[in-house]
């Protein structure tokens, strides 16, 4: 009975779990209002990131490329940043923020993006756009460092660092850094703290990613976090960063720079972690946890009681994806009497070894568990096909779908991206609502599998 943390021992990647840093920074940028990022690199670095977003959300998001071609790769491409900024500002009159996100190519050729931002601020912005509020934010996300996760973390910090501005008094709010979540997660988080009568600056406010077709006009999906929101983060009562690896850098920055106290984690997946989240909110704001949340929690516990020890207990699960999501899910699965035997984290972040949650798993689990870092999908598939790993369930995003399909293992689609099931972004995984959805969705996946395989499917005749 042990939990082992180890890195994949192959050099390369067979079927990647993560994409690279610029994608994470781009995801952050679409959460901000009046903001279009200019990604400094080849066109594919934007085109495919937009495609994946549109597959996940079934929406299109605005992101621009500096379109680095061969000449630029040889002679430097800063002129393309200058032109790109100008073209964006000319054509998008409401645009206020242009993050300039670097990629592998422009980092390798050594383009001085910080320098060109100063040049633009002193030149183009002063002359041509003197009467407009324009912010250019260099964000360095070379693709050969970290992963989409660190790209997200860096970009959140760069946004906050650029805007945060100390005022005379507190704004009476908490900063809530959600990490890489879905619109439904934001809805649930806002509902929880709303019940506690706590006012929060949600970073990033992405509920509107789920946008409507309206009878007129053009409703382009974008986030709702404003410049004012970002500025006032320096004046909050405190910051709660739900995820250690997606947003904690910014929380730490606000604490160090502006004495805004930070609480990092836990990712509020499952009842226990949601309880802790509420306790943290209470501690930070002094606001009580109301009866309504006791009730909401009770409904979740009621739902869990229906499925956990009868159907979920003893089920072996593999989980892959964003580290905070994976760890949070694993913790919840253990509470549901399941056995998350394999966790796959798609990058090689050295901090995983010191993550208290992973340490706790190493000390506490009552079954054999592996946590593989720098993992790819072959780590999962090879164990199933060639090493006898038996699983009852897989939790993760759509890129791993064939591991489930080809090995006849039921799977619940979670995380990013989910494109092979409808409406994935519409379901929360955090909070009490997330706990209900997860428990029931896992049970339903197992039920469907029982029926396909005629494996005691008659049990459900009378459930």
């Amino acid at each position: 009975m042990s939990c082992e943390l180890k890195a994949k021992d192959r050099t390369g990647v067979i079927n990647p779990i993560f994409t690279c840093q610029p994608a994470g920074a781009q995801f952050v940028s679409i959460g901000v209002k009046d903001c279009i990022a200019l990604v400094h690199g080849g066109q594919g670095c934007v085109m495919f990131v937009r495609l994946t977003m549109s597959q996940h959300f079934k929406e299109s998001f605005e992101l621009a490329s500096s379109s680095v071609h061969e000449d630029a790769a040889v002679f430097g491409a800063l002129n393309r940043v200058e032109q790109g900024v100008d073209v964006l500002l000319m054509r998008y009159p409401d645009l206020k923020i242009i993050p300039i996100i670097t990629t592998c190519s422009t980092e390798v050729i050594g383009d001085d993006v910080d320098g060109v931002v100063i040049k633009l601020e002193e030149g183009l912005l002063k002359t041509k756009y003197a009467d407009r509020e324009v912010h250019l934010i260099p964000i360095h996300t070379p693709s050969f460092v970290g992963s989409m996760i660190s790209g997200y973390d860096i970009a959140v910090k760069d946004f906050v660092e650029h805007f945060a501005k100390k005022a005379d008094k507190t704004n009476g709010k908490i900063n809530l850094l959600t990490g890489w979540v879905n619109p439904a997660d934001v809805t649930e988080l806002k509902s929880l703290i709303g019940e506690m009568k706590v006012d929060a600056t949600v970073l990033f406010e992405i509920e509107t990613f789920d946008s409507p077709i309206m009878p007129d006009g053009n409703h382009v999906s974008h986030g709702e976090t404003t410049i004012e929101d970002l500025e006032s983060t320096a004046n909050a009562i405190g910051t709660i960063a739900l995820n250690r690896y997606e947003g904690a850098k910014a929380a730490q920055f606000l604490e160090n720079e502006f004495d805004v106290p930070a609480i990092i984690g836990p990712t509020p997946i499952g009842i226990r972690n949601t309880d802790t989240f509420l306790a943290n909110v209470k501690k930070m704001t002094g606001k009580a946890i109301p009866e309504s949340l006791v009730r909401k929690r009770g409904i979740a516990l009621d739902a869990i009681a229906d499925v956990s020890h009868m159907f979920l207990a003893g089920k072996k699960v593999a989980i892959y994806g964003n580290p905070d999501l994976v760890i949070g899910l694993a913790e919840y699965c253990i509470d549901l009497e399941m056995e998350p035997v394999l966790l796959l984290l798609g990058d090689d972040n050295a901090k995983y070894g010191n993550d208290p949650r992973i340490k706790a798993l190493k000390e506490g689990v009552g079954f054999n568990m592996e946590v593989v870092t720098n993992a790819d999908f072959w780590e999962l598939e090879n164990r199933i096909k060639n090493e006898g790993l038996e699983l009852d369930l897989i939790l993760g995003h759509s890129k791993g779908r064939y591991v489930a399909i080809d090995n006849n293992i039921p799977m619940v689609r979670l995380g990013y991206p989910v494109y092979d099931r409808a409406g994935g972004f519409r379901h929360p995984v955090v909070g009490y609502a997330g706990a209900i959805w997860l428990a029931e969705e896992m049970a339903n996946a197992i039920f469907t599998d029982m029926e396909y395989k005629h494996n005691k499917e008659w049990v459900l005749n009378v459930w």
Partner: protein, 540 residues
């Protein structure tokens, strides 16, 4: 000149020459937008990069190949599970992708050793696969890794493995198209001429520029096989690595997507004297003409006519059922590169659809030349479109649907224009006779969606019709149809399967095709094993 001035692009004057309204009387040469020029940064263009043009469009449809990209992981991630090029032997090319996963230390100290280790690992994980395509990316190109040398080394140490190298980093050209060109020439230089195929028919073609999207290649393969024609290799949909090493051994190159693959055809003509014949496999008339053209080459017109007669009899009444109901539908035909000229005239002549705009993301002027010539006067043609121009065009033209890619389709949705996917297709295949009916069916389902009719109602202002609980598609599509058409006993809706490909594969497995012996000319059944897996002999 009939250039089209987009309001949103008045501030970037160089865009003016990238859009034209085709005039009534103008000569074609007056109505050509510029094409394949560098993208203007910040326009939110829809273009991709040369790497994806090489790897994702042309390389990866090859089915028995480990596709390994040398670079950071993102390029690989992006070009995996974002297209629908299937194969007839288990979809290895869709399911698996490989990255060398270049990290900072590799950028500083070089990544060649790591790459070699990577290649060996990949072959070890899939011992049954003997071929690899190795793709350069921006990062590995810029640090100057000599991946050709690594490939040579590996092949020396592992003599049963073959490694093809494609040097098309993302920045190598204004769009995907740069990568198409590079991989065409790379394949020709490195691989063609290294294999000796089994020739089992008197008539041998290469089928070039066909990527088996949802089974397109398998539809066309059935026609060619029914004519007794051997497909020596398909470049590259559903294609075998080894077959493609034998491209020099065909009598004719039958070229479908001339945008992505004309380069290899032209070089095969120059170097090996193989003629190039451009065909269109989309549309009844176009497919029939194309089969007949190929038949003319070999003198087997009767064989082609047999197929055309049979397919028209089977499918034309179904196409016409839709055509009667699609007449006058307004469409923006906004594909990537070649479908504007494959489709524009066929949509008009066989479905009565008015194509009010065509665009191309990565086409060259030649594509516009073909595309614009096949459009009606008044059509708006746009090169390298960007988001604001597309939206402006849709507001101006008010199309009933657009045919474009997944993400631009989401843009259209928000201004209440439904879309069909022309890259991966909605419910393809769309090639050949049955495929064209499937496209008509998909257009019909899209345009006459009763749910879509509800998007313009503003329940806060408009009178809400309360008399109906549902509306049928037919009541929308048939409102103005004559009784003769409505009550026709000849016309009918599509009657094929959800997926027609499994039946074709089953047919192929039952040894039904006959081919004329290359020596004697005698027609005889060629067993499926020869058709699918004939052994290619290595030659120097």
């Amino acid at each position: 000149m009939p250039y089209h001035q987009f309001k949103c692009s008045e501030c970037i004057p160089e865009r003016l020459h990238h859009a034209v309204d085709k005039g009534e009387t103008e000569d074609l040469t007056d109505a050509l937008p510029l094409g394949y020029l560098n993208t203007i940064p910040g326009t939110i263009s829809e273009r991709g990069c040369a790497y994806c043009g090489a790897k994702h469009v042309i390389g990866t449809p090859m089915k028995d190949v480990i596709h390994l990209s040398h670079g950071p992981v993102g390029c690989t991630y992006d070009t995996w599970q974002t297209k629908r090029y299937i194969s007839d032997d288990g979809n290895f090319q869709l399911k698996y992708t490989f990255a060398s996963d270049m990290k900072e230390a590799n950028v500083v100290f070089g990544a060649e050793k790591m790459l070699k280790k990577n290649i060996v690992e990949a072959f070890k994980a899939f011992p049954e696969i003997h071929n690899m395509a190795l793709y350069q990316t921006c990062a590995s190109a810029l640090i100057g890794d000599d991946i050709n040398a690594i490939a040579e080394e590996v092949m020396e140490e592992m003599p049963d493995k073959k490694v093809f190298v494609c040097n098309a980093p993302g920045f190598a050209g204004p769009s995907q198209s740069g990568g198409h060109h590079k991989i065409n020439i790379a394949w020709l230089n490195q691989m063609v001429g290294t294999g000796e195929p089994v020739i089992y028919s008197k008539y041998v073609i290469n089928y070039v520029g066909e990527y088996n999207i949802q089974g397109d290649q398998e539809i066309m393969k059935d026609y060619f096989h029914r004519m007794g024609i051997q497909i020596n290799a398909t470049f590259t949909g559903n294609g075998r690595f080894d077959d493609l090493r034998c491209l020099h051994k065909a009598q004719l190159n039958v070229l479908e997507c001339a945008r992505s693959s004309e380069y290899i055809c032209d070089e095969l003509r120059t170097r090996y004297g193989i003629p190039r014949m451009d065909i269109d496999g989309f549309g009844f008339e176009a497919t029939a003409d194309s089969l007949m053209k190929v038949a003319h080459f070999f003198g087997i017109e009767d064989k082609a006519q047999e197929i055309i007669d049979a397919e028209y009899a089977r499918w034309k009444p179904e196409l016409d059922w839709y055509a009667a109901r699609l007449k006058g539908v307004k469409m923006c035909l906004w594909p990537g590169g070649s479908k504007l000229w494959h489709w524009a005239h066929m949509l008009k002549s066989e479905m009565g659809i008015n194509v009010v705009s065509v665009y191309t993301k990565f086409g060259h002027q030649g594509d516009m030349e073909k595309g614009v010539s096949r459009c009606e006067p008044g059509t708006l043609a746009i090169d390298d479109p960007n988001e604001l121009e597309s939206v402006e065009a849709m507001y101006e033209l008010k199309p009933d649907l657009i045919m474009t890619g997944k993400r631009p389709g989401e843009v259209a949705k928000k201004i209440r224009v439904p879309y069909l996917n022309v890259h991966g297709y909605h419910n393809g295949p769309y090639k050949g006779f049955e495929g064209w009916v499937r496209l008509a069916r998909d257009i019909y389902n899209c345009v006459y969606s009763p749910a879509h009719q509800l998007v313009n109602l503003d329940i806060s202002k408009d009178e809400i019709p309360t008399d109906k609980g549902f509306v049928t598609r037919e009541s929308l599509s048939d409102a103005n149809l004559s009784d003769e058409i409505k009550n026709s006993t000849e016309l009918r809706e599509y009657t094929g399967a959800y997926d027609p490909i499994p039946a074709l594969r089953k047919k192929a497995e039952s040894n039904v095709y006959t081919f004329p012996d290359p020596e004697t000319g005698e027609w005889r059944v060629v067993p499926v094993e020869t058709l699918r897996n004939s052994k290619i002999v290595d030659v120097e």
